[in-house]
Symmetry: C2
Subunit: 228 residues, 2 copies
DNA sequence: AAGGTAAATATTGTACACAAAAAAGCATTG
DNA sequence: CAATGCTTTTTTGTGTACAATATTTACCTT
């Protein structure tokens, strides 16, 4: 995608870096993002940092309270459930379109990634499974052949990734996720768009529910670095 | 929504202003957004302008090419079709949820707005109809009772508004739009979520198609201010 | 005269400075 | 000892300067 030869802008690089740290859970919800601290860490001035933060505030990854600094967004269980509800529909749409528009390469890519997921599942490595699982979903988006939809789905996946990651820690979640992927792939390969949409919807909604379970068991401080 | 007592930030005010100018077609696709020109116009410095522009580049309203300035995004017919395809699904989801979760006030608000649309339709004032039509759709989003979905739908509607507006100029589009709204409302009031989703999907897809017709007839220069 | 090259000009990206506002620390008082 | 008000310190928001890069203009060559 990025075929610009122009050297990348500082603020763009920083935005991606900070976004990744939020996605991987290095920056926890509620954590304060100090502009000067970030500036010194990345040995730059506050200007590019601010530009990066302002950009991240748009999709809601961070919250910038006027005159009161930026913090990593704290997503309430309620809102998270809503986000999963929307994600389910977006991915279901990808599946419906994928089933209708699947190319040979799409088929190849998806089956390959699914096989690599099987390996990660067998080796019981949740982190590795997480990464390959993520690739499976990205391949699903690509197969929809709607570039706008691909962008939206990817963006939403990124926003949820910090939470998705946790959710795979739940007992037996990896293996059931793998089985669900098998059903998804089967439906898409058979060309049944409505079936694919249904299966995906359930797959994501289950993730949301498992996450709700997790939230109920784990104490708040595990997720949130600071309270307001 | 905006219940902050803190005085608003310049960059936020500017972002909304520029966004509105894009939505209303005052800034046409391809138009260059000169930082110093904007700064002098709003009698401020380049810093808040830049922050506003960087934020607008995230949802793709404008394109910032490194070292080459910002332009209003030029959305290709292909991409516009894709956006309408996604919008159809998002709004269909709103309708499905609305049918299941409708409150008395939702019902009241939607019927009231629909009635006011009837008036605008009868008086054959496309601009007024456009505004009320917009309100109808916003009320539909609200009725979904999923605040995340409401935000996403609203954001997407804003991104498409410059194009939606044009599309109502097509012959008889206003009256057919009104009839479609009637069907949507009826489906939602009857509580049939799947029916509502179907009707809405068709309503939006028709908009996309009508727009494609428009694009085919009107010459490019009407829409686009400059070609690269 | 056309095309290409080099100087001139304009514009962007980043650093930094300063004012205004919020947070923290401190002292005073009930 | 707690609470409140004042002072100090920190942090944000914006203006401005400057260097690096595009773009335009002018000039020279063929």
């Amino acid at each position: 995608m990025q075929n610009r030869c122009t050297p990348i802008r500082q603020s763009d690089r920083l935005r991606e870096l900070i976004e990744e740290r939020i996605a991987t859970g290095q920056y926890l919800p509620g954590m304060r993002l100090d502009e000067v601290a970030l500036a010194t860490e990345f040995s730059t001035s506050r200007t590019p940092i601010r530009e990066a933060l302002m950009q991240l505030s748009i999709p809601g990854l961070i919250v910038m309270r006027p005159r009161r600094g930026a913090i990593v967004a704290e997503i309430s269980p309620q809102r998270l459930y809503e986000m999963f509800e929307v994600m389910a529909e977006i991915e279901a749409m990808c599946g419906r379109l994928a089933a209708r528009r699947l190319t040979d390469t799409d088929r190849q890519v998806m089956t390959d990634i699914h096989k690599s997921c099987e390996e990660a599942c067998a080796s019981e490595d949740p982190d590795e499974y997480y990464r390959r699982n993520e690739r499976f979903h990205l391949a699903l988006y690509d197969a929809s052949h709607n570039t706008f939809l691909i962008e939206e789905a990817t963006s939403l996946q990124r926003r949820l990734s910090a939470y998705r990651r946790l959710q795979l820690r739940v007992r037996d979640r990896v293996s059931s996720s793998y089985i669900e992927h098998s059903n998804i792939l089967e439906a898409i390969l058979s060309g049944d768009g409505e079936l694919a949409a249904d299966v995906i919807r359930k797959h994501i909604v289950i993730q949301g529910e498992r996450f709700a379970d997790l939230m109920a068991t784990i104490k708040e401080q595990t997720l949130s670095a600071a309270s307001v």
